[in-house]
Symmetry: C2
Subunit: 202 residues, 2 copies
DNA sequence: GTCTATAAGCAGATAGAC
DNA sequence: GTCTATCTGCTTATAGAC
């Protein structure tokens, strides 16, 4: 498979494979997913999947790599020029929106993390750590300026991930606990805003 | 397999199977785990596993059922006669201790939840929901008495789960972000205590 | 109770026609 | 580029000896 597909058909088929793969891998995990399922979900025959990608694992790692960019964008977008509390609360809200609107992506990464992240461990120790360190530095500065209450900035970021992603990854448990008639997301938005405002208001 | 095993050997072998199954299922998920792996981890031959349990799935559901009791115990133990803030912070600490000391159990349940909890959905809608409702009622009473700040009690419980379990389930990511020389758990204990004290102090 | 051997089915990947 | 047919290995589960 060429690195730069030329025809419209190739691009479209690769897109369909990624979409089907996201559907299946996020629900079944890497080992649980089968090429037959991805074939059915994407509408391409099984041998055709392996015409576009050399192996099942290649599909999976490609999917992870592509989605990681989207996944880290909100943290990337935190604005050093903005109002500190506003910036943090906006980040929380964007992450919660992503849990609501992209639960498959959230579960895909959760699956990978649970298994020790064998396919993206370099990214964790490299790009991710650097990004978090940069944002932790920014948060520390805001805290020292008295514009946010003092608290460990890296654990703050970790706790935002934990709280927002939980609503996607443990969706079935959240809905069981809240009951069938309640929508978790507007409630979570209010709760998390209050929680972080209480924690961070100087 | 009899419901009430009689000999010491039977009890010991069942215990070894549960231990090996926990090791493998928590790391690989249900579909990813194989009887060969459980056989190696438990020290029993593969046909012998199927002498004690009728199928791979029977091993898995038995494991989930046994561990669920232990897993819910801290919430069960919350004391209606205790000091409200103290009781909540003690619950947070016990859950965090469980993440540190029983990460395999945490990941086992996380795997099951990610897949929509097909093997324990009745428990979620039944026993778990009732237990959470009982504790939410207790928390609400404390809030109305002015002994805790007003906040949605069920989301409070959900957020305790999310934050504490995250340190076990996403261990690899937490350690990548914090760097190799830091121990996440004492730091998390301090951070989470502060967080919930700020949120709940009236 | 525990073993070796094996049945039966499924999965990832390839061959080769069109 | 896409298909049908098929190979090869792995996985759950069973048969039957000891």
């Amino acid at each position: 498979m060429s690195e730069t597909p030329r025809t419209r058909i190739q691009l479209e088929n690769r897109r369909r494979i990624m979409e089907g793969a996201l559907e299946v891998f996020s629900a079944e995990g890497f080992r649980g997913a089968t090429l037959d399922q991805i074939s059915a979900a994407s509408g391409l025959s099984k041998p055709n999947l392996l015409y576009y990608f050399p192996s099942k694992e290649a599909i999976y790692t490609r999917l992870l790599t592509e989605l990681l960019e989207i996944w880290l964008q909100p943290l990337e977008d935190m604005d050093p020029q903005g109002q500190p509390l506003e910036e943090v609360l906006r980040y929380v809200q964007r992450k919660l929106d992503m849990s609501r609107d992209m639960p498959r992506e959230s579960r895909l990464f959760a699956n990978e993390m649970l298994r020790g992240a064998p396919h993206i461990s370099e990214v964790l120790a490299g790009r991710l750590r650097e990004l978090v360190e940069a944002r932790a530095t920014l948060l520390s500065r805001w805290m020292q300026e008295g514009r946010l209450r003092q608290t460990p900035p890296d654990h703050l970021i970790i706790s935002i991930w934990a709280l927002t992603q939980h609503y996607a990854d443990f969706d079935v448990q959240v809905r069981a606990v809240l009951g069938p008639d309640r929508d978790p997301y507007p409630e979570a938005a209010g709760y998390l805003t209050t929680l972080f405002r209480d924690l961070l208001t100087p």
